[in-house]
């Protein structure tokens, strides 16, 4: 049974890795495939939540992932509207995760995709990500919890998937409502149908296998279980092979697509993502999947990420490619980590008093 589970996770990882390579070949930005943080940010831009001209596009991959998970969970019976486990804290944590990701320039998924392209800056990010997860696990082992979720109505569970459908319909029917980049990463995209299909497949596969970029490392720390990590490794291998075949593998720190080499900020950015993901119970991809399964708590984290992305660009917190974060971004990441540690410590101390 354990082997079967690892096999399914590895297969999902290969699907995700292959989808990333194909989407990049068909027009998505380099080493990006379908970065959750970048694409939520582009979508926020298209919705006028920020107006940075180079990162605006309604990304069908995001829509596909949520709907793929939603449809499959309806069929399999996993669709269970739940919510009420510290929604505001989840919003804030999602917000901070997004700031960290945009200082590093990628979510955990893009970090692995960048690693598979030979980008060594992502290796620095990975070290920070692991450190953040390790830190989060200390809190979990000491009783940290965001509390119990209660049953919610189907209306509540369907709300976010419904908004997603509405967004997609408007995107096709009235594109003039949205902002679209004419240059930069936001202007680079695969054909809509392929992007949506890739999202649907990835969403469905990740729902089935519960693939999570943070969960794999967390499970090793907490229960010495190596099941979930197999998906992570498979994505890396698939992307690596794809890049080697396509001739787009370039080992090194410099001249990597949409990245910077300010190591400390790559480390701290991903530290915030790792810690935040553990507190939320999953990485940004997993939050999209859980939101599709009817979790309004994860929907809150997703909304927090979207608003975080808008703030990141409106207040110049996001790094720019090559030059890295400015002073605002540096202050925001450090403040974000302090807030995450404060939330985790206060909650953990309260829980220990109760016990």
């Amino acid at each position: 049974m354990r082997f079967a589970e690892k096999g399914k996770l590895a297969a999902t990882g290969i699907i995700i890795g292959a989808a990333a390579v194909v989407l990049t070949l068909l027009g998505n930005p380099g080493n990006m495939g379908f970065c959750i943080a970048c694409f939520l940010r582009d979508t926020a831009g298209a919705l006028h939540l920020h107006t940075t001209p180079i990162v605006e596009y309604v990304r069908p991959e995001i829509i596909g992932i949520i709907l793929g998970s939603f449809v499959l969970s309806l069929i399999s019976g996993d669709f269970r509207p739940r919510g009420g486990s510290s929604p505001v804290l989840r919003f804030i944590i999602g917000f901070i995760v997004m700031i960290g990701a945009l200082v590093f320039l990628g979510c955990p998924l893009r970090m692995v995709i960048r690693l598979g392209g030979g980008d060594l800056n992502a290796l620095v990010g990975l070290v920070g990500f692991i450190a953040g997860i390790g830190c989060g696990c200390i809190f979990l082992n000491n009783g940290f919890t965001l509390g119990k979720a209660e049953k919610q109505t189907n209306v509540e569970g369907v709300a976010l998937p419904f908004i997603t459908v509405l967004l997609f319909v408007l995107f096709l029917a009235v594109p003039s409502l949205f902002l679209f980049s004419e240059s930069g990463p936001g202007s680079m995209h695969a054909p809509v149908a392929v992007a949506l299909l890739a999202g649907l497949i990835v969403g469905a596969a990740a729902e089935r296998t519960r693939l999570c970029m943070a969960g794999g490392i967390r499970d090793i720390f907490i229960v010495r279980d190596f099941t979930l990590i197999s998906g992570f490794v498979a994505i890396f291998i698939a992307v690596l092979i794809g890049n080697l075949i396509g001739g787009s593998f370039h080992l090194g720190f410099s001249d990597q697509p949409v990245s910077h080499s300010m190591h400390i900020w790559n480390f701290l950015g991903m530290f915030a993502v790792g810690l935040g993901s553990v507190l939320l119970g999953g990485c940004p991809l997993r939050q999209l999947i859980l939101a599709g399964e009817g979790s309004s708590d994860s929907a809150m984290a997703v909304l927090g990420m979207i608003v975080g992305a808008a703030f990141a660009h409106n207040f110049s917190l996001a790094s720019s490619a090559n030059t890295g974060p400015g002073i605002n971004g540096k202050v925001a990441v450090v403040a974000g980590i302090v807030i995450l540690l404060a939330i985790a410590s206060i909650v953990t101390i309260r829980e220990r008093r109760k016990a």
Binding site: R2, G215, T227
Partner: protein
């Protein structure tokens, strides 16, 4: 046999709760989980520790009987 209700908690908390509860009652435990992810995670964790797991499906939840 002691019963541990993890309803409402999501991954990985049910596993951590099981881990702690098994420290107090290493002979076995009944764990109630209300989502498939936790069901699989708790089962996998218990199996790795050498427990046998009997699964009984209830209304919107599962009863996992962990015994040596």
């Amino acid at each position: 046999m002691k019963e541990l209700d993890t309803s409402g908690y999501s991954c990985p908390e049910p596993v951590i709760m099981t881990k702690k509860a098994l420290k107090d009652s290493p002979e076995g435990l009944i764990v109630i989980v209300d989502n498939r992810a936790s069901k699989e995670n708790v089962t996998r964790y218990a199996t790795a520790l050498g427990y046998s797991v009997e699964t009984e499906e209830g209304k919107g939840n599962w009863k996992l009987k962990l015994s040596k």
